[in-house]
Symmetry: C2
Subunit: 259 residues, 2 copies
């Protein structure tokens, strides 16, 4: 598959349910995170995003009850066109389905958020080595950094990590800072312990990561942050994409770069 | 006065009630627009902003009932610290006071939006002539361009205009595009009639403008757009800054430039 609609159509038919974390690097297209929540939470969520733009870069929001996207991937049905979802009821994970039509309600709104995997395209073009998923791409960690609260939303920042050769750290910081819609500049560079991460080999989500000699870990804010905040609000229903099973959008990665 | 807190303190004491449109160029500080609305409208307003980022660049939003800013001008009381306000009840202008404490309620939220006057600083530094208010700075026009609707919000785009020497039009487009939080790139360049403006000498708000020979009008989205959309929603209470009587923030204009 090379075109975004091919992934989405395969998801809709139930024929694709694998991670999409490597799609940007393979195709040049942007992937995006999903959080679905009841309308009653949406105002607080917008406030939370406004106060925490790095972990919560909103790309598109649907009207209550409308599962169809109009901007980042027009015609996409967010209930069927992602490879895999997580369904939380009152804060508890109850299901990890490939289709959420049976959970859909008239009061649900879908928030589409930028994803740092999208920037892999630009980094690879500049000669930065990108791990494959087997080598730890997609490892995510809870930090000890607190987000700015808003209404029912609060909690600690979740980060992704890039192992970067020391001489390329400045380059990675510069390139990623040009993608504010994909979490922007690093939130931390170096010692994982300084932000409360005990062991890169034991991520909270995704595959384990091992640093190679000469590599520095570079941490970026992650869209799992607001997902966790939504889940921990204890609201009756929150649905997210399963970690690393993002929406494949119609936007080229470079469309999300600021000029 | 040279420091932002001096303007705000003078406003609070009732000693300053004049336009602040020339403050950025005089001091280097950013000014910002204000829209206050009941919580019941706020979700739709966030959706409207997300779908219309050029006219609605949100810089800060207060919690319901809280009139104090924490980010763009910490400690500012939005009820007293702007020079002049407009109060609308069910869509009708009822008062143009210098203090809105008597209108304040526990369900009101203040939205602070970027303002294109802030970019005057960067343009003047690059040799672009900036009109004084007497010469038409602050003239605002309703266009025939429709915004993307969201909930109760819809309506036509309001624009500000810069008369620019023809040879500097590309420069102005380039510089303003680097300030997305201040309405960003031009929405139109040249013929006012093409966007439904009959006469630059008869603005909908602000002073009349006369083009000089060799000048091209350059139009930018304006924060009056969402103010009008809020007013026209017919909600019981909306309060805005009076046109050209913006909040003077603690942010330097360059703080709002993207890198």
């Amino acid at each position: 598959m090379q075109m975004p609609f091919e992934w989405r159509a395969a998801c809709r038919r139930g024929e694709y349910s694998q991670p999409t974390v490597e799609v940007p690097r393979a195709t040049g297209y942007a992937v995006a995170n999903l959080v679905v929540m009841p309308r009653e939470l949406a105002l607080d969520f917008f406030l939370y995003a406004q106060r925490n733009p790095q972990p919560v870069p909103i790309l598109e929001v649907t009207d209550p009850g409308d599962p169809i996207l109009h901007t980042v991937a027009p015609g996409t049905d967010v209930r069927t066109d992602l490879p895999r979802y997580r369904v939380y009821r009152r804060g508890a994970l109850v299901e990890e389905p490939t289709d959420i039509r049976r959970w859909w309600r008239d009061d649900l709104m879908a928030f589409i958020l930028g994803c740092s995997c999208t920037v892999d395209v630009a980094l690879a073009q500049r000669g930065v080595p990108i791990r494959s998923e087997d080598e730890g791409r997609g490892a995510l960690f809870k930090t000890n950094i607190h987000t700015r609260p808003a209404g029912v939303f609060h909690g600690r920042l979740v980060v992704s990590v890039r192992p970067v050769p020391a001489e390329q750290v400045d380059l990675v910081a510069d390139v990623t800072s040009r993608y504010p819609a994909c979490h922007g500049a690093p939130v931390h560079i170096g010692d994982p312990g300084a932000i409360g991460i005990a062991d890169l080999g034991r991520p909270d989500w995704g595959p384990p990561l091992r640093l190679q000699p000469g590599e520095v870990p570079v941490f970026h804010a992650c869209g799992v942050t607001p997902q966790m905040a939504a889940i921990e609000s204890g609201v009756d229903l929150v649905i997210t994409h399963a970690p690393n099973h993002m929406l494949v959008t119609d936007m080229q990665a470079e469309d999300l770069m600021r000029l």
